[in-house]
Amino acid sequence: MGRIALIIAVSYGTVSVLAIVFLVWVGVSTRGNQPEPDLRKIGEREKTWFAVVVVLLAVLLFSTILFTPYGRSAGKHAQIEKIKAIQFAWIVPGTPLKTGTPVEFQLTSADVNHGFAVYNAGGKLLFEVQVMPGKTQKYVYTFKKPGTYTILCIEFCGVGHAHMQGSLTVSA
C-alpha cells in the first residue's frame, strides 16, 4: 500500500469505528424505557453540529488542496517519455530512463480513453492519470529505485482492457 493509501486506510478506519460506536449508542438508547430527551435542546445543538462540520471540512480542505497533481513542472533537465495508448497496448518508445531525474510523461491515445497507471515490481500503485484521445496529458514523476515497472490500463477501454499491460525499465 502506498503512503497516501495508508493515510486513507488509517483515517477512514478510525472515523468509521467512531461512527459505529456512535450508531450503536443511538441504537441501544431505544431499548428499555428511557425518559424522553429534551428534543428542543437537541434541535438547537444541530446548529453547533453544523458549525463543527464546516470547520472539519475546512481543515480537510486546507490540509489537502496543495497536494493535487496539477501544475507540476519537471524542470529543464527532465527526461521526456512519449507514450501512446491504443486498444489494447502501450506503445513505449523505450528511452532509457534514470532514477533521480524527473520524467515528464507525455501521454496520448489513438482511440479511446485509457488510464496510465504505473506499479512497481512489488505490485504497488505509484501513480495514475487519464489519457484522452486528441489530447496530450502530462504527468511528472521521479523514480527512486531502478527496476522494471508495470503499466496497467486503469480506465476501461474495451474487451482487451485487463490485458493492456506495458513496462518501463529504469536504471540507476
Binding site: L23, L39, W49, L60, A89, Q137, T150, C157, V159, H163
Partner: protein, 642 residues
C-alpha cells in the same frame, strides 16, 4: 426559523390516493424484478473474477454494463421514483390526473429503456459500460457494431427521458394547491417547495401549514434532474448519429464534462427521494416529529444549486495540457465538500429522532436504521473520493466500487427494502407475509454487503483496478474471499422475493410473531452472516497472495532460444496478449484470433503486425522491422505448443 412543522395529514381515500397507490406499486414491482436480474449478473461477475466460473472477457464487460445500468437506474432509481408518489400521498399531496399521466409515461420510458439496455448488452454484447467513456461506444474492437451502439444510446436516452418526465410529474404535484403557498408566482412556489419558508417565513409564506419535510428533497431533485439530463439527452442524440455517421463527433473532454454533468446528479436521483422516504418514515417509527427539520432546510437550499455544479469531481485525474480542466477540478473540491453538509445535517436530525425513542425494530425499522449506518459509512468513503489528493490513488480502483455499493446497495437499497416492508401492505391492502423473514433478510444482507464492500475498499487501497474481467494475480486471494459473500448476498435476496410473492398472494396473516422467538431467529442469522464474513476475511488474510505480476513478461521463463525470447518479450510488452490467445506467451486475449488454433504462417503474421487488420492496429510505427520479424518468428514457433 423556530416553528416546527406539524405532522401532515395523508390524502383521504379517493381516486387521487388510488392513483398514487397504483403508480407506486407498478414502479416498485418493475424495479424489484430488475433487481433480481441485476443481482444475478453481479454474482456472475464476482465469481468470474475469482476464477470460480470464468466467463470470457467480452461477456464479462457486457454483463458489467447491464448490471451497472440495471441495478443503479433500473432498480434503485426506479424504485425510489415510484415511492416518491406514495410519500407525497402520505403528506397530503394529491396525484392529479396530469401528474399521473406523466408518471405513467415515465414508467413506460424506463421499462423500454432498461429492456433496450438488456437486449443490447446481453443479446448483442454491447460492453462499453454506460456511456460515460465516450468515445468507447464507437470502438467496440469487433465485439459490437454501429447498430448496437445506436440502440444502446437510444435505450439510455429513453431512460433519461423517463427521468425528465418523472421530474415534471413530481413538480406538477408539489407546486399544486397542497403546497398552501400564499403567493401565486411560480418562483415563489418553487422557493416554498424547496423549504425556503423555514429560512424566510414571510417571503415564502404558507397557510395554514409549512411545507412537509419530505416534499423538500423531492422538489430539489426534480428541478436538478431536468437541468442535469437535458444536455445528456442532446449528447445521446449526437451519439446515435455518430454511431451511424462516424464523421460526426464531439470533443472527448467536452463529452466527458457533459456526461458527468448528468452523472453526478443522477446519484442524487437515488439519494434525495430515499431521504424523503426517511423523513416520512423515521419519525413515524420513532413516534415523534423529525428533530430540527427546520435546520436541514439550510442544507437543501445549498443542495439545489451545488448538486449541479460539482460534476467534475468524477474527472479529477483528467487535466490534459492546454485545457482549463485542472482549475475546474480544483474548484470542485470545496464545492463537493459543501454538499456533504446536507448529509451531515440530515443524519443528525434522523439519528436524534431515533435517539431514546420507542423506535420500532421490525423489518422496515431495522432496514431504515441500517440505511442510516450505510449512509454515514458511504458518506465518509465519499469524502475520500472528493479530496483530490486522495482520489489520485483510489480513482478507478475497486475502492470506488466499494464506495458506491455502500451507497447504492446498502443505503438506497435499504431504504427501498424499508419502503417495501412498511408500505407494500398499504399499497395492496394485504398484510406482510413475514416480518421475521424480513428482518433476517435485512440484517444478513447488511452484514454480507458491508463485508463485500470492505473487501473492495481494501483492494482499491492496494491499487486494484476496477472493471477488470481478470484482476492481476496479486489480488486473487481477496477476490476469492468475496465469492461466498456475493453468493450469500444473492441467496439472501430469495427471502425478499419469497416475502413479496407471498404477500402479493395474500398469504400474510397480519399478526405479529412471538417477538422473543423471532428475535432469536434474527440473531442466529446475524451470527451466521458474521461468521461467513469473518471466515472469508480470515481466509484472505491467511492465504499468501501470489507475488505480483505472475505470468507477466518480467517473471515468466523465456525459453531456450534467445531470438525467440526477444520475440516473446515483444509479444507481451507490445500488447499482443491483450487480444490474442497464445499459451506459450501466457496470453489469453479473446478479441482477436486465437493464435494457438489459427496457426497463421510467418508471412501472414508479419503482414498483420506491420499493417494491421480489420480491427487490429498497425504496429509499423511502434515496432522496428527486426522487432516485427522477431515477434512473428516467436508466434509461428510457439503456435499450439502451450
Amino acid at each position: 426559523m423556530n416553528h416546527v412543522a406539524p405532522t401532515p395529514e395523508p390524502l383521504a381515500p379517493g381516486p387521487e390516493l388510488e392513483r398514487a397507490r397504483w403508480i407506486a406499486f407498478r414502479y416498485v414491482i418493475a424495479a424489484t424484478v430488475i433487481l433480481g436480474a441485476a443481482g444475478i449478473l453481479g454474482v456472475i461477475m464476482r465469481d468470474s473474477q475469482a476464477g470460480v466460473d470464468r466467463v470470457p472477457d467480452g461477456w464479462f464487460y457486457a454483463i458489467m454494463t447491464a448490471h451497472g445500468l440495471g441495478a443503479f437506474v433500473g432498480w434503485a432509481a426506479f424504485a425510489v421514483m415510484g415511492f416518491a408518489f406514495w410519500v407525497l400521498a402520505q403528506v397530503g399531496f394529491p396525484l392529479t390526473r396530469t401528474a399521473a399521466r406523466l408518471a405513467d409515461a415515465a414508467w413506460w420510458l424506463m421499462v423500454l429503456g432498461v429492456a433496450g439496455v438488456v437486449v443490447t448488452c446481453l443479446g448483442f454484447k454491447f460492453g462499453a459500460s454506460w456511456v460515460f467513456l465516450y468515445p468507447l461506444s464507437f470502438h467496440g474492437a469487433g465485439q459490437w457494431g454501429r447498430w448496437t451502439s445506436f440502440f444502446f444510446s437510444g435505450s439510455v436516452l429513453l431512460a433519461g427521458l423517463s427521468i425528465v418526465v418523472w421530474c415534471l410529474s413530481i413538480l406538477t404535484v408539489v407546486l399544486g394547491p397542497a403546497l398552501h403557498a400564499v403567493k401565486r408566482s411560480i418562483p415563489n412556489r418553487v422557493g416554498v417547495a424547496i423549504g425556503l419558508g423555514y429560512l424566510a417565513p414571510r417571503r415564502f409564506a404558507t397557510n395554514p401549514r409549512p411545507v412537509p419535510y419530505p416534499v423538500i428533497p423531492l422538489t430539489v431533485i426534480a428541478l436538478d434532474m431536468i437541468v442535469a439530463t437535458l444536455p445528456l439527452a442532446v449528447l445521446l442524440v449526437e451519439m446515435m448519429v455518430q454511431s451511424l455517421t462516424p464523421s460526426v463527433h464531439v470533443d472527448p473532454l467536452l463529452a466527458k464534462n457533459v456526461l458527468w454533468w448528468f452523472g453526478h446528479p443522477v446519484v442524487y436521483l437515488l439519494l434525495f427521494p430515499a431521504v424523503a422516504m426517511l423523513y416520512q418514515l423515521v419519525p413515524k417509527y420513532a413516534g415523534r416529529p423529525l428533530v430540527a427539520g427546520n435546520v436541514i432546510s439550510i442544507g437543501w437550499a445549498l443542495a439545489v444549486v451545488v448538486n449541479v455544479i460539482i460534476w467534475a469531481h468524477h474527472i479529477y485525474i483528467d487535466y490534459p495540457s492546454g485545457s482549463p480542466q485542472a482549475a475546474i477540478n480544483t474548484a470542485m473540491q470545496p464545492l463537493t465538500f459543501s454538499i456533504t453538509i446536507v448529509s451531515a445535517l440530515s443524519l443528525y436530525s434522523l439519528f436524534f429522532t431515533i435517539y431514546r425513542s420507542r423506535y420500532r425494530w421490525d423489518a422496515a425499522g431495522a432496514a431504515m436504521f441500517l440505511a442510516l449506518v450505510a449512509w454515514l459509512l458511504a458518506g465518509l468513503s465519499g469524502v475520500v473520493n472528493a479530496t483530490i489528493a486522495f482520489d489520485q490513488v483510489v480513482h478507478n480502483t475497486l475502492w470506488v466500487v466499494g464506495h458506491f455499493h455502500q451507497m447504492a446497495l446498502l443505503m438506497i437499497g435499504f431504504v427501498i427494502f424499508a419502503g417495501v416492508y412498511a408500505w407494500l401492505p398499504d399499497l395492496i391492502g394485504k398484510p406482510l407475509y413475514s416480518d421475521a423473514m424480513g428482518r433476517v433478510h435485512v440484517w444478513l444482507t447488511f452484514v454480507l454487503g458491508t463485508a463485500n464492500s470492505a473487501l473492495w475498499l481494501w483492494q482499491g487501497l492496494h491499487g486494484a483496478p476496477r472493471r477488470f474481467a481478470v484482476l492481476p494475480h496479486q489480488y486473487d486471494n481477496i477476490t476469492q474471499a468475496g465469492v461466498p459473500l456475493a453468493i450469500g448476498l444473492g441467496l439472501t435476496q430469495i427471502l425478499f422475493a419469497v416475502n413479496i410473492v407471498q404477500t402479493l398472494r395474500g398469504k400474510g396473516v397480519g399478526r405479529v410473531a412471538d417477538p422473543k422467538r423471532s428475535r432469536r431467529v434474527v440473531l442466529v442469522a446475524l451470527a451466521g452472516g458474521l461468521a461467513l464474513a469473518g471466515g472469508s476475511f480470515g481466509w484472505a488474510a491467511g492465504t499468501e497472495a501470489t507475488k505480483a505480476w505472475a505470468g507477466s513478461a518480467a517473471s515468466a521463463p523465456a525459453g531456450a532460444n534467445p531470438a525467440l525470447a526477444a520475440g516473446r518479450s515483444i509479444f507481451t510488452s507490445a500488447g499482443c496478449s491483450g487480444c490474442h490467445t497464445l499459451a506459450a506467451a501466457g496470453a489469453h486475449g479473446t478479441v482477436g484470433p486465437n493464435l494457438d488454433q489459427k496457426k497463421p504462417n510467418l508471412a501472414l503474421v508479419i503482414a498483420r503486425v506491420t499493417n494491421g487488420g480489420k480491427v487490429m492496429p498497425p504496429f509499423k510505427s511502434s515496432l522496428s522491422a527486426t522487432q516485427i520479424q522477431e515477434v512473428a518468428a516467436f508466434v509461428v514457433a510457439s503456435e499450439g505448443n502451450g
